[in-house]
């Protein structure tokens, strides 16, 4: 008995096909490298604009002094209050957004019926589609008066107002990335945990969270990135006042809003202009540090 013979092996692919393959590979390689080039390019140009001021920069005063008087003579460029403004608003926003966002992600991924899930996902994505200037507007005209009345404070536009807006803006990101991370955990894990007699909550806390921690961390950090970088909404809702805040309801000023508000007025090449670019460098360093920490944490988790 003879086995059926396989058909003739196809002739070797043409040289054109091989060339095409190489071209595609090159193209993909370029795409990958371009990301690095762009990041370094942006850093380089921002840094170059601010660099001339470095010679006379008092780093301690720049980072820790709260005297931000760019139009005085002599001018004071203490970005401490701005840095603190950015950090405090972001931290407060994350304190609200992280539990809420992760909770929503768990609900959407684990507890909701399929119909509810679809509706919720659409609504959450709609939330992400609201332009930041509209958020700022809501902060000024809706939240502001409300906060003033409810908490009996003199100013409605303040740290709390802006943090609330930033929380609302980061929640959609945290929910959708967090949900992806939870969905990526195989069902066999859930079933194994439940078969061991765990309740659904125990399954979520003891199995799902550890299993999805990398993705959840990424979700939170993308939310942080959104909050640190946000400009328009915080410009409108923080009160924009460069002072060290002493309560949740004090107005603050952030790094981003400062650049947006003052760069138009600063003469190109002037000291003020250069300092604003250095603030850009500071922002860049801040987000870089956040991402790097995240990477190291994730790597640390993985090595275990």
């Amino acid at each position: 008995m003879s086995l059926p013979r396989s058909p003739e092996r196809p002739a070797g692919r043409g040289r054109l096909a091989v060339l095409f393959e190489q071209a595609i590979e090159l193209l993909i390689r370029l795409c990958g490298i371009s990301a690095i080039v762009f990041v370094f390019g942006i850093f380089f140009f921002v840094f170059r604009e601010g660099a001339p001021y470095l010679a006379q920069l008092d780093l301690g005063a720049f980072l820790f002094s709260s005297d931000w008087y760019p139009s005085n003579d002599p001018a004071h460029y203490g970005a401490g209050a701005l840095l603190l403004g950015t950090l405090s608003v972001t931290l407060l926003a994350m304190l609200m957004a992280v539990p809420f966002g992760l909770g929503a992600a768990v609900f959407v991924s684990e507890f909701s019926a399929p119909r509810t899930r679809e509706v919720l996902k659409i609504v959450i994505e709609l939330l992400a589609a609201v332009p930041s200037v509209v958020w700022g507007f809501i902060g000024m005209s809706v939240l502001g008066p409300l906060i003033k009345d409810v908490f009996q404070v003199p100013l409605g536009v303040n740290m709390f107002n802006a943090a609330l807006l930033l929380a609302l803006m980061s929640v959609p990101i945290i929910v959708s990335i967090g949900e992806d991370a939870l969905k990526a955990v195989p069902d066999s894990y859930r079933e194994a945990a439940l078969a061991l007699g765990a309740t659904r909550w125990q399954t979520v806390f003891r199995m799902l969270f550890p299993a999805a921690k990398n993705g959840l961390l990424a979700a939170v950090l993308l939310g942080v990135g959104r909050a640190i970088g946000e400009t328009m909404a915080v410009l409108m809702a923080t009160g924009h006042s460069a002072r060290i805040p002493t309560s949740l309801f004090d107005p603050v000023q952030t790094l981003t809003a400062t650049i947006a508000a003052e760069l138009g007025e600063a003469r190109q090449g002037s000291e003020h202009y250069q300092v604003l670019f250095l603030i850009g460098v500071l922002l860049f360093t801040l987000t870089f540090a956040v991402n790097l920490t995240a990477d190291l944490v994730v790597k640390g988790i993985r090595r275990k």
């Binding site: 955990v185 859930r190 061991l196 199995m207």
Partner: protein, 253 residues
Amino acid sequence: MNARKKIEVSGLRLSFGDKEVLHGISFDVYAGEILGVIGPAQSGKTSLLRCINRTIEFTPGARVGGRIAVDGQDVQHVKDVHGLRRKIGMVAPLPVGLPLSIYDNVAFAPRAAGARDRAWLDGHVEQCLRQAALWDEVKERLDVLGTKLSGGQQQRLTIARALSHQPEILCLDEFSIAIDPVTTMRIEDVLKELSRDMTIVLVTNLVQQARRLAARTLFLWNGHIVELDRTEVVFSDSPGDRRTYEYVNGIFG
């Protein structure tokens, strides 16, 4: 045999959507016995186990009819399903090491049940890992992720985990697919020992494994019970059904 009935299955039907996979099967499992369940792929062995601890309900579209009682209590109407699942140790066919450390894998169920005492947990984890013939290989690295172990080690980890909540019933679903013959023998010895105070349902593709371990053997085929009898009878030259003889002797088409 007039031992106490640990599990009573009567008229069990299971369907996924329009497709019925178990067509009204009935049998009992006696306390302290090892019941072997053999049968070709797709005959409903795994689904049967999943009906007993009600994990079948996580499969969308699964509908269960008939009645399964554990200790005389209908599992469909049991108040504390988590308590029911703790009573039943389940070893899944694919090694599913949870993405936790080896220690946490085994301590998962006791902790879910409320155990907090570290010294007790330490001893308990060690005992379960020893019973699953895994302790010597992992005792130096209990904090390594369970998913980093080899397939066979993960399989034994799931056995240790199934023992960790001190179940009264142990359901093993092809526990030895990924384990070498020597280790399989070690675990089989452990099972024999455990069966003194545990009821064991052993689903296996290795018919000889059922022959070695089981007091009675059930031959499940296409969602029907072809034969359920003492293992000597099932593996004899003249079992109750011709198909049983053909299957255990490898003649079955």
